[in-house]
Amino acid sequence: MEWRDQGILLSARPYGETGAILEMFTPEHGRHAGVMRGGASRKMAPILQAGAQLDLHWSARLEDHLGTFKAEPMRSRTASAMASRLSLAGLNTVTALLRFCLPERQAYPALYARTETLLDLLPEIALWPLAYLQWEMALLDEMGFGLDLSCCAVTGAVEDLAYVSPRTGRAVSAAGAGDWAARLLPLPPIMLGQGRAPDAEIAAGLRVTGHFLMQNLAPQIAQKPLPEARARFIQRFERGLVAD
């Protein structure tokens, strides 16, 4: 068995003295692990950092074997992530969430394309938080817990949507919410693609996506809490430390 693809490095953990087990996110083979001989060498260590884009060749005797990777660097993102604390926290949260959410060896080409774009935006730190919010919405969608913000779940109205139901993930208008408003999650206009994306609205949007990641996705997938990296990113973002 063998294939050739490109992928984003999610993690590299030591294997033996000189090898490494790489966990990659690829467009055609999803989250896929494999051993890379010499992956812990001095030559490869700078290349095998989370977020790196690699050209991959995977081979194994049988399809369900772990298999071995041969990798060539395409793009390193560590240096751009190093430039800012928020970028680094962002890189950590993206790779941690992908490791947490994605089943192994199941392709998500659309999510891959979004992830690649998101990581390429890391140096653009002013744009990044909004792109990240949209990526989390896409992640929820791909995992089967997408938000339905097309119309009000109560009245069917498409205007004046102000809340999200914490149970169903459907939008609710201010009129439709009535006395239940306090129990609903506030829906920032930026999640509807409206407004100028102030940081406060992005933070509110991340609270909404965070709710569904925690309440719906995490219990279904891993029975574990969300990766700590996401909480650190949100904390960093909310502290407003955009520029170091």
Partner: protein
């Protein structure tokens, strides 16, 4: 019972050491047996002694045979600077250069979501305590230039913010390095950290 059972066991044990495999372990054991009085017996004595006394310095985390290491006890070391390193091996590397004359703090790892290493697992609270008690004016973060190393450096910088000067090692072209052989990440970091000549 095989007459070489213990020797085989020794070879097997040595082969598990970093840098050694079965063949090199066999050669090392053969050498030790041939030079029994000169190498093997002193080595065995030293290993017994170190196994009984080796411990972490309760102040900085360095490894020594006393509860507080020589660096922490030395009066010749500057007290205002602490160099934070990930592991004892990094401390030894810094000491080899002989440039740094302050004291150290060994974290014992880096923050890692993958390995479930959080701030509480590392010696970060102790570092914070030392900054206060030793009247530290500068903390030098000499952590690896990896994603985990940098994440840890940022976390420590946040924790110590405003209490002392916090610096980190520069990143860029190594001494003797040729640009042609450097990865693009290192070149980007070097370019970002360029300085006037």
């Amino acid at each position: 019972m095989s007459s070489t059972r213990d020797i085989d066991a020794l070879i097997e044990m040595m082969a598990k050491l970093p840098g050694l495999g079965p063949r090199s372990a066999r050669r090392a054991v053969l050498q030790l047996i041939r030079k029994r009085a000169l190498q093997m017996e002193p080595l065995a004595d030293l290993m017994t002694s170190v196994a009984a006394t080796a411990c972490e310095c309760r102040n900085c985390g360095n490894i020594g045979t006393q509860p507080v290491c020589d660096i922490c006890l030395s009066n010749e070391r500057a007290t205002g600077q602490i160099c934070v390193v990930e592991d004892v091996g990094d401390l030894w590397a810094m000491e080899r250069s002989g440039v740094f004359k302050g004291r150290y703090h060994v974290l014992g790892g880096t923050l890692s979501a993958l390995d479930a290493i959080g701030p509480e697992t590392l010696r970060i609270p102790k570092l914070s305590e030392r900054v206060e008690s030793e009247e530290v004016t500068e903390v030098i973060l000499a952590l690896n230039a990896t994603v985990d190393g940098l994440t840890t450096a940022h976390y420590i910088a946040d924790q110590l913010d405003g209490r002392c000067r916090i610096t980190s090692l520069a990143q860029g072209v190594p001494i003797g390095g040729e640009l042609d052989y450097l990865d693009d990440g290192t070149i980007t970091a070097a370019l970002n950290a360029r300085r006037e000549v």
